[in-house]
Symmetry: C2
Subunit: 128 residues, 2 copies
């Protein structure tokens, strides 16, 4: 049938809840992608959307401000490139500082995931 209709049936609720859960992961995702090689903004949108089974539906209004924040804090560097093309692109490269920050982020994330798994798994045998 129409599997194309992904238009979230019953829920502004799901959207809200998904947004809150995914909070902060965008930063982790962006830095991770940039840790492989440099990318420009619009490209990042495509890469992020087609990875991880589309769990991360990054919006433009989220990505661009995020990139600027990362740049301001020195985690990434931006360079404009036109090179014969009419529409210039702004490429982002991760800095050593950004890699250290990324490591921290990954640690925190896996810590959270482990903690939540433990909590969700040991519920039957809760102490007290």
């Amino acid at each position: 049938m129409a599997e194309d209709t992904e238009a979230t049936p019953e829920s502004a609720t799901i959207a809200r809840l998904r947004r809150e859960l995914a909070r902060g992961t965008t930063e982790l995702a962006v830095l991770s992608v940039l840790s492989v090689r440099r990318r420009y903004g619009y490209e990042l949108l495509r890469v992020l959307r087609q990875t991880g089974e589309g769990v991360l539906e990054v919006k433009e209004g989220t990505l661009y401000p995020l990139l600027h924040r990362l740049e301001d804090s020195g985690h990434i560097l931006a360079t404009w490139e036109a090179e014969g093309r009419a529409r210039p692109r702004k490429y982002y490269v991760i800095t050593p500082d950004g890699r250290a920050y990324l490591a921290m982020l990954r640690t925190e994330w896996s810590g959270l995931v482990d903690g939540m798994r433990q909590l969700l798994d040991t519920l039957g045998e809760v102490q007290e």
Copy 2:
């Protein structure tokens, strides 16, 4: 430049980042705990803090408003109980509606975790 005489050089950053990452998981954690048996607020604080390796450092200012939101949306029910004790407790019970919502939350959470794991693992072979 290494003169961060601050007692917390990077801790403030970690705290912020941890807070943003853990966003939304408190709701999942609370409902999960309540799905086993009823609890009162102050008790929830203890249970949540000692579970999951202390990853979830739930604060009072977070928990109580959250409980009220869950109550308003019909996911939990509250009942005061004094029964001989001077300091009455407000017990919370999960409703059928809350269980359905919890199921949704768990699905979303594991979806996010899977997606992030995929993204973080397949970084070497990113498509274009």
